[in-house]
Amino acid sequence: MRFDDMTEAIGNTPLVRIDPAVHGLRNIDLYAKMELLNPFGSLKDRAALAMLRPLLPGATERGDTVVELSSGNTAKALAMLAGMHGLPFKSVTNRMKVPEVKDLLLLLGAEIEELPGQAECLDPTDTEDPLTRMHQALAANGSGYVHTDQYFNENNVEAHLSGTGPEIVKDLDGRAPDYFIACVGTAGSSTGVARALRQHDPDVRVIGLVARKSDFIPGIRTIDEVHEVGLFDPGVYDTVETIGTDEAIDGMLTLIRRCGTPAGPTGGGAYQGAVRHLRELDASLTERRTAVFIVCDRMESYLSYLRERRPELFGRPARNNDHRALSDAEVRDAPTIGVEEARDWPGLVVDLRSPYAYQAKHIAGSINIVDEIFDELLHGGLPFSRTQQVLLVCPVGEKSARYAALLHRMGHPSVRSLAGGIIAWRDAGAELVRA
């Protein structure tokens, strides 16, 4: 395989059979369309290329910025494509809730704008919401932007009508599957694939999946939001069903841990939604059927999403010298001294506040080790010798008392905490200096 550029690696993804021992369906062969293997990481590579390609000649000539409303995958793909042509890319969003995706986009050189929240003192007559205003700004001639407009752009559908869909048919030896299950974001992939499959067999059953209203599954819409999508046509789907965050994560774990497929949440949701829908039919079937679902993207961008929702997946063993293991009595008995005594402290003074605060004001002669780092140091053992006298200082004397108690427990004989912290020091009129 020899290519001239990475865009040639987009598409032609494998269709992989899911082991029946995993999904438990007896009469249905379940296949996953592995869109996560696209070069920029998701099925949106196809749409991004199809939407941007016709705009490129004009954009490169004028040096326009490519702009899109995207919460992640489309933005990633467009940023890479724009970069290949020396064009800047800007993502405007109010939906980007996954921090890794933000950092990734910044790494790709994208500019990100977050739209403002709703007004607290609402003015319902204000029809000029930020999104509408942005659309007007982009539509103006000579705005310096090209807008790929993924929620309304027919090329988003076309990419899958001529790519993803026919590939599935080819890999099933020229036949369309009986069931096709896909998550709906812009509706581009599900609509395009459904059309292609129905050209082969009008009886293909298409199941669209959206998130439950109160759930957030990055990349797809909720049951309400889907109506805001220009490409969304309810007629495409035989049914639209909802999935929850928990189901998406369960499915994701099955794909990751049992199927060698490092899928993201919507891949997991599609798997889980597919099995849930098909299980009922399976019992009553008398002949073999096939079903296909899409694995849209990869797991790596969703670590914080998972950490928030399934902290137990990341359970780490308890660490040594953890201040959380101290008893209340130990903390209460922590060795402290008051401001008067502290003024004549002969030893080292360690200020546990943020460097930012330390720069502005601190006790002359003190050194700064911010609590997070101090905490980390203590896991490894005593960070100063037992003969070194140490006075710990924090804002109000609580954290410093905990660490003094911990150091005491670790065998340090002469550590103290400043009672009342640096605020008591300031309030007593004792001197503070700038760095």
Partner: protein, 480 residues
């Protein structure tokens, strides 16, 4: 699949507010004596609301003052009751300042905010309240007044706006108020020039937004501004983060979700209309696609009030990547806040009388400016209070006002009541003390503005007095 069950939006009501509603004899007597609409405030609920914010301060080990944003309600009773707590008052006009001084707030507990005229500045300077300046011009005016009248040095804060973010650009709506944060240096020059007249004590922001990420950018921007002040030898000590902590109006999140889902379906024409003339609350049907933005306050807000403050203080500063609460504590600044709506949570209701019932049209003896829920985009059902208990089926009705104006709709949506109301029944719009009670009330058509009464618990029963008669020393039970 159209959902034809009645769409309720049940208000969240605290036990004390409930117990007022459970006293129809009192309510009937009040409205018969004082007319419809009648504004009822419950001053004794304020204490717990102040305490909820203070508890959040304690959790974050922070100090600073909780200033009540007076603009949210004109009531004397509420203000006087707050004067009996530890709270301060945020006043935004000359009359509000006079009102706060008269209610018992000493000047050290008052902050003057918003754009100000010379009279307002003079009284603020004369009495020695903190002046939260909206512009450099205001600071110059103030300094001139102080010099010309030989007044003592005035404590000032500077309200900033237009904070810049790094990395991800967090956009905020353009604001009419405050000094652009990039112009801070010029303001500090001005303050140094007027050292004799003005003492800078801190910086401030107030953003009219629900989104906390914008506020995180603003708060971090204020910390940077304070650092710049310190570096120039100006001994600042506090940051004022304004108001906007929000209220949770609805008892049940599922009702809100269902309501908004059905509204979208109605706008798309997939179910019978739920609103007067198919009003879409900002949504519209564009060839089968839903366009526009839902222009409604998120009436179900599990994280609001003190919880919202907690969330903000627990959020990482976008640049320094340490929780904002820890940074405030580390830098030893006081945190001042100006909640209006959130402090008035559960503290009042508007009571009205049903005048006429014609099919699904119910006319009330008040107008849309007296209960400005619609104007503020807050959807919440009123509570029906009948003289005798009738059992009947739920009825969907539109509530109309008493002005001869097509637009005078108290609800633009069909409201589902437990039964069809009858003339003479009462409707109570609960939890309306913050902005929906007297903020917009007018005397158009010479219709009266609702009277206001304070109710309070005494000797196991509810007692009442006219709002202006209320002082936080209740008349004893034996006197009545």
């Amino acid at each position: 699949m159209p959902d034809l069950k009645p769409l309720h939006l049940t208000p969240r009501t605290a036990p004390a507010l409930r117990s007022v509603l459970d006293d129809p004899a009192l309510l009937t007597q009040l409205i018969n004596g004082l007319g419809s609409p009648l504004n009822i405030v419950l001053p004794d609920l304020l204490e717990a609301n102040v305490e909820a914010f203070r508890e959040s301060y304690r959790r974050h080990r922070l100090r600073g003052r909780i200033y009540f944003a007076h603009k949210a309600n004109r009531s004397a009773a509420l203000l006087r009751r707050l004067a009996a707590t530890e709270a301060g008052a945020d006043v935004a006009s000359l009359a509000e300042l006079q009102h706060a001084l008269g209610a018992g707030f000493t000047p050290d507990r008052i902050m003057a905010t918003g754009p100000k005229n010379r009279e307002f500045l003079w009284l603020a300077a004369r009495t020695g309240v903190i002046v939260n300046a909206d512009s450099p011009g205001e600071l110059t005016d103030l300094a001139d007044l102080v010099a010309a009248h030989g007044l003592p040095r005035v404590r000032v804060m500077v309200r900033l706006s237009g904070f810049a973010s790094q990395g991800v650009q967090v956009i905020s709506r353009r604001s009419r108020f405050g000094v652009p944060s990039r112009a801070l240096a010029e303001v500090l020059d001005l303050l140094e020039k007027h050292r004799e007249e003005l003492e800078l004590v801190g910086v401030a922001y107030h953003l009219d937004t629900i989104g906390w990420p914008e506020k995180a950018v603003a708060l971090e921007g204020c910390l940077a501004a304070l650092e710049e002040c310190q570096a120039r030898g100006l001994p600042v000590r506090s940051v004022d983060i304004g108001g906007g902590f929000g209220v949770n109006y609805l008892a049940d999140g599922a009702e809100w979700e269902r309501y908004t889902s059905e509204l979208a379906q109605a706008v798309l024409g997939k179910r019978e209309p739920m609103t007067w003339n198919g009003h879409g609350y900002g949504l519209r049907n564009d060839a089968g696609t839903l366009r526009g933005v839902l222009g409604l306050y998120p009436a179900h807000r599990p994280v609001s009030g003190a919880g919202y403050l907690d969330q903000l203080l627990g959020a990482d500063a976008p640049g320094l990547r340490r929780p904002l609460g820890s940074l405030l504590l580390d830098t030893m600044y006081d945190l001042d806040i100006e909640p209006g709506r959130a402090l008035l949570d559960q503290c009042g209701l508007v009571l009205t009388r049903v005048l006429e019932v014609r099919g699904e049209l119910v006319r009330l003896d008040c107008n849309a400016r007296d209960v400005s829920l619609e104007e503020h985009g807050v959807l919440m059902d009123p509570v029906l209070i009948s003289r005798e208990s009738r059992s009947d089926d739920p009825a969907g009705v539109y509530l109309l006002g008493n002005l001869c104006l097509e637009a005078d709709l108290i609800t633009r949506r069909k409201v589902f009541l437990p039964r069809r109301p009858e003339p003479g029944d009462l409707l109570a719009f609960v939890n309306t003390a913050g902005y929906f009670m007297d903020f917009s009330a007018t005397q158009a058509l010479l219709q009266p503005i609702g009277r206001k009464v304070a109710v309070y618990r005494d000797g196991g029963v509810w007692r009442w007095c006219l709002d202006e008669q209320y002082w936080p020393v209740h008349p004893r039970a034996e006197e009545s």
